[in-house]
Amino acid sequence: MTGKTLYDKLWDAHLVKMRDDGTGLIYIDRHLLHEVTSPQAFEGLRLAGRKPWRISANVATPDHNVPSETVERSAGVAGIVDEVSRIQVQTLDENCDDFGIKEFKINDVNQGIVHVIGPEQGLTLPGMTVVCGDSHTATHGALGALAHGIGTSEVEHVLATQCLIQKKSKNFLVKVDGKLGLGITPKDVVLHVIGIIGTAGGNGSAIEFGGEVFRAMSMEGRMTVCNMAIEAGARVGMVGVDQITLDYVKGRPYAPKGAHWDQAVEYWKTLHSDADAVFDRVVEINAAEIKPQVTWGTSPEMVVAIDALVPTPESFGSVAQRQAAQRALEYMGLAGGQPITSIKLDRVFIGSCTNSRIEDLRAAAAVVKGKKVATTLTQALVVPGSGQVKAQAEAEGLDKIFTEAGLEWRAPSCSMCLAMNADKLLPGEHCASTSNRNFEGRQGFGGRTHLVSPAMAAAAAIAGHFVDVREIDVREIV
């Protein structure tokens, strides 16, 4: 018998039963909720007279609609100026209060972006099945969990049954071996991977990230990588459990303690693909080839290295790709053949469930320390991913480094990643963003997003245009 992949192990451990049509009924350990994709699910539950199956499996927090601006934020839910946003956050509070679901409310120190607080609190753990009405739930796969996004009907289904009906995905291994060059970050790795396999490359698959690069990567870095599995089409991204995972989880507020800890660790140590496991597909990448990445178009697969030129439509193979490139260049206001470094920026956004953890903020602070944001920039925002990240950053003095350099230090929220709160681009504005999607209008109607790492975003904030972070002076801050 051949070995099992990590995905196979997690699937098998949670399989309640195989159904006649070949789909599986999968048990869900942790269900994360936020204000945008849950109200209709709670309403459905009420209309059908159903109760949540297991209350303690659910944890909620508002993140998409909450203001990042500190004055507006200080007044709590009642202070949210946008009435429609306020009602949505209030509705989450009411639903959680009514059903007795644990919620970190708007100004709780543990509030934050749902995919930042899950691992941070030990609420998401290795070996768990984790779902949330949000496609970036793949983030939690960094812990060696089976985690993916679901729609609102499935949110209701999980609330009511603690299960999901799933078709088993294919096993896809992305293996990056070798050593990353200086200044190359997890964000560059994952953007490079998406550039190779494409935005639909992982459709129908669970991606496991393996190889020396991920083994050496911190948990925060692994979260950045798994977070963007969905931008390659895969609902699931994951990394096998190792000592780095265990060291990260130990001592977290909701992580197991005492005898439960020992018992859990014994199980978690089995959560990696067996040496003889067979994958449906394997892509191997040499780490040394990866350079700092910048997206030029309106899909995360439209990405090149910092020292490259914006591609011309003619350089693409198929008619569909040439048309897509043409449309993207028009939307982005770019010309094929112009250097990436010639793209002038209007705003910079450092934050989102991809890159708002403490390491991300340290990397950005190291670049801007003692410098000033370019005067040509309209705004540069730094939005920490959680109240805990914010407190940690402030304890390390990072907030001062940012504000002295001219960046704005904000309160935890999804913010300009998808512009559901007041933080958004104006039509035609270019933004260096550490978020995950460069779709048309994603950061604001007519806005133009370039996805980059925190260090690259910080360097761009100082220069006013993209620069190669490997060529600038980076200060030691710790």
Partner: protein, 215 residues
């Protein structure tokens, strides 16, 4: 959920690969706590020339004359012809809600993003995957003939063209059953309640740390 048996309707084009859910329904409309009313804002940024706001009356907004859904010939369309990786990006179910509320009952494409594909079935919307060449042929036939209608026969798993050509398609057995009968799958899963309890009990013994109360 609205049952789906046989649907005959005008086909309309969304002739772009990688149409993402931000495009299908922009984020400002996700602030609604309702399940309905998203139709007027389907493809909002492509359909109108201005920036739409939630709760706004769309009847006076400037339409984009170049966007196919604004053409008279596609009025009342129920079948959307699309390209590869339709529905990529976010998991927002507002995307199928908007398509369904607009009047679409079926989307035909060479491939779909996984989460969007699942979400469709929960909302009486049938996503059909066909070979890229066949989809291309349907596009050409639709462009060539005003009032081009397709019949989608779910029980027979067939698409019937105006010329009478029958094209077979695959659909999961359970999804088909739920769609044809307009069934809520929560009720069906709860028929396995005993199995879920048995599993849960065993799992709690194996992994007790997963079952601690949250304080």
């Amino acid at each position: 959920m609205k049952a789906f048996t046989v649907v005959k309707g005008i086909a309309a084009p969304m002739d772009l690969a990688n149409v993402d859910t931000d495009m299908i329904i922009p984020k400002q409309f996700l602030k609604s706590i309702k399940r309905s009313g998203f139709g007027p804002n389907l493809f909002d940024a492509l359909r109108y020339l201005d920036e739409g706001q939630p709760g706004q009356d769309t009847s006076n907004r400037p339409l984009n004359p170049e966007f196919p859904l604004n053409f008279a010939r596609y009025k009342g369309a129920q079948v959307l012809l699309a390209r590869d990786n339709f529905g990529c990006g976010s998991s927002r179910e507002h995307a199928p809600w908007a398509l369904e509320d607009y009047g679409f009952r079926c989307v035909i494409a060479p491939s779909f993003a996984d989460i969007f594909f699942n979400n469709c079935f929960k909302n009486g919307l049938l996503p059909i995957v066909l070979d890229a060449q066949i989809v291309d042929r349907l596009f050409q036939a639709m462009y060539a003939q005003e009032g081009y209608e397709l019949t989608i026969d779910l029980p027979a798993q067939q698409i019937i063209t105006p010329a009478g050509e029958k094209i077979g398609f695959d659909v999961g057995e359970f999804s088909k059953h739920c769609l044809i009968n307009g069934l809520d799958d929560i009720g069906l899963t709860l028929k396995d309640e005993a199995d879920i309890h048995t599993f849960e009990k065993r799992w709690q013994q194996q992994a007790p740390w997963l079952f601690e109360a949250l304080n």
